[in-house]
Structure formats: structure tokens, C-alpha cells
Amino acid sequence: MNFGKQLKEGLISQNPVLVQLLGMCSTLAITTSFFNGLGMGVSVLVILTLSNIIISLLRKIIPNEVRIACYIVVIAGFVTCVDLILKAFVPALSNSLGVFIPLIVVNCIILGRAEAFASKNGVGAAAVDGICQGIGYTLVLIIMCVFRELLGAGTFGAGLLGGGELGAAPGLRVIPEQFGIKILTMPVGGFLTLGALIAAMQWALTKSKNKKKEAK
């Protein structure tokens, strides 16, 4: 088992959002606060790992013609479980993520990994792949959340830190309110932040590629 290599792929060279460009909808929509990003990231991580395991176990039984439908049913089952668990135990998060929790079903990351990895590899590798890709996704969400929340609203960890109930906490104020760049918390900010982040990733990847070429 090559955990280190898979982790590196999930985090950097094959990052689901920045390199494979999967799962854009949720990435753009819910990255307005650290609380949302963490909740969404962990939900996807759990669902991705579990569905990878199950699909890898069933890969020899599922007929090739109807495989996509089978994958979707497996994924939808897990999404429903997570949705109900969140509603029961963390209603604040469930309210704030709204329709995007059930929409994890059609998040291309999960279906993409099922098709590209879990259906061709053993259980262990599939589970590790799920965890690594999930961490990569969560990390991008958190970077975007922190950036947008910090510069947009001027706070850090709203809904999580700064006293008060979970979901209603004001967060730690870093920048005075009147200096916040409000537009970053709006849909426009999502597009611009993600664009800049992918550009930074492309820049870093070409740079490291050139360095390798020079070394040769």
C-alpha cells in the first residue's frame, strides 16, 4: 500500500478540485464561512470513503452496463444517512448547508472516484483513495472559506468560535467590519477566488515541472 503517494496525489498533483476540476458547485456555493467548509468537507470525506469501500467490494458483482446506476444508488444511500445524522445532531450545520447536503449525490468527485478508482482497485486502496481525495477536497474548501470569510466579512470561524451556540456564534473579528470586502462573500467572490486559486495551482505545477526538466 502506497499511502504517501496517494496522499500526495489527493492533496496536490491530482487534487480533486484544483486539478481534476470536479465538484465545483458545492465548492463555490458553501465556502462562505469556515464552519460551512469544514462541515461540507468532512461530510464528503465520510461519504466518499464509505462509497469507495462498498463499490470496491461490489465491483465484481455489478454488471458493466448498469454500473453508473448502481454507484448512484450506493452513494445516495450514504448521503441520506449523513443528511439524517446532521439533521439530528448538528441542525445548525444542516440548516446552513441546506440543499447542498442532499446534492452531494451528484457531486462529481464521488462518482468520478467510483468510476476511475474504486471500480478497478481493492478495498484497502479504495478506502485510502477516498480518505486522501476527501482530505484534498476539504483542504481546498477550508482555504477558500478562510480567504473569503477573512477578507469578506472580516471574521474567522463564524458559527464555530467566539462564544454563543453552534451556528450562531459571531466568530473572531480580525478586520473591523467596515473594511470587509463584501463582494467576496457574494457569488461573484466564489468565482473569483476559485479562479485565482486554480491559477496559483497551475503556476506552481508548471514551475515544479520546469525545475525537474532543468535538473535532468
Binding site: 445516495a76 449525490v105 457531486n107 479562479g195
Partner: protein
């Protein structure tokens, strides 16, 4: 009364609460299938059609699930309905309108995993829309998607030829473009009052 509420839903879905620019539903096909205006419009049309059908079918499925006390199976049931609907539309087009079928090609099966379709079904339930409102929301939401992807493809055809910084080539510049169009669409948010 009925008419004004329908008008409010339509205007909201097309402009103020546009599925792409305000709600972030259906971003994957929006970014993936927007390099040429023709294919973008084809995709938009197909999505509108499936969204209208999905809203209508899922309305009855939801009624059935609620009456059977199985509301928690919503997500699973909806996605299955949508997947089979897309399959059905594909077979229907192949048999009766083969020209449209070949034009849409690989995009048809992709509609299954378009979050706008599942999103409209879930939002209909969440907003407690009746049958007519659901169908209107489905159609106008699809039209909003069509408008968005058409505008975006038109701009993107032009940016293909302009010089962009190397790191921004391809996807990043497309995202920035989308951001600017979203900024324009923010101007419609004033329509929300009614």
C-alpha cells in the same frame, strides 16, 4: 393572485435567483460545455426539458413518498427518477428526432449528474410549491440556465483569442469571466421585492 405568484417565481428563477449565478447549481456542465455557442444552447435546451419533466414527476413521487411515510427516501427516489427520465429522453430522441440526438451526443447522459436537475426537485419540495408552481419553476429555472450558459459561451468564444497570463489560461480565466457575469446578474437582485 395565481398569475402574479407564477410571474414572481419565473422572474426569480431566470434573473434574480439564477440557478448558475446566484445558487451555484449546475456549474459542472456550465463550465464544461460552454466552449461553443451551438453546443451550449443545445445543452441548455436539453437541461430545460429534463428539469421541467423532473419537476413534474418528482412532485408526484414526493406526494407518494409522504403518503407512505417514506419522506427520508426522497434523495434516493429523486435521483433514480431523474436517471430513468434521462435514459427515457435519450431513447425517445434516438427513435423520433435523431438529428437532435446526434447534436446533443454525449451531453445527454451527463444531465443525470447535473445538480440543477436534482436541485430543482429538492427546492420544489423545500419551498412547498404546488404542481403548477413546480413545473413553472422547473421550466424557468432551465431557461435561466440556458440564458447563463449562452451568455457565458458567447464571452468565452472571444476570450479564446485574447492573451491571458500563462497561469490563468483555460479554466481560471473562464471562472473570472463567470464571476464578472455574476456581478452583472447581481443587479437583478432588486427584483426580489415582489
Amino acid at each position: 393572485m395565481e398569475f402574479t405568484s407564477l410571474l414572481a417565481i419565473s422572474l426569480g428563477a431566470i434573473l434574480a435567483n439564477n440557478f448558475i449565478f446566484a445558487q451555484f447549481l449546475g456549474i459542472c456542465p456550465f463550465l464544461g460545455v460552454s466552449k461553443k455557442i451551438d453546443t451550449a444552447v443545445g445543452m441548455g435546451g436539453a437541461v430545460t426539458f429534463v428539469m421541467a419533466l423532473a419537476s413534474a414527476f418528482c412532485f408526484f413521487i414526493n406526494k407518494l413518498l409522504v403518503s407512505l411515510d417514506l419522506a427520508f427516501m426522497q434523495t434516493v427516489a429523486f435521483i433514480l427518477v431523474i436517471a430513468s427520465l434521462v435514459q427515457f429522453v435519450e431513447m425517445f430522441l434516438k427513435k423520433f428526432i435523431p438529428t437532435l440526438y446526434t447534436a446533443l451526443g454525449v451531453y445527454l447522459p451527463l444531465i443525470t449528474t447535473n445538480c440543477a436537475v436534482l436541485g430543482v426537485a429538492l427546492l420544489n419540495v423545500q419551498n412547498d410549491y404546488n404542481f403548477i408552481e413546480s413545473v413553472v419553476y422547473g421550466i424557468t429555472g432551465g431557461l435561466g440556465f440556458l440564458v447563463a450558459i449562452f451568455l457565458f459561451a458567447a464571452v468565452r468564444e472571444q476570450t479564446e483569442f485574447s492573451e491571458t497570463p500563462k497561469s490563468f489560461e483555460g479554466f481560471p480565466i473562464a471562472l473570472v469571466t463567470a464571476g464578472l457575469i455574476a456581478l452583472a446578474f447581481m443587479g437583478f437582485s432588486g427584483l426580489k421585492i415582489w
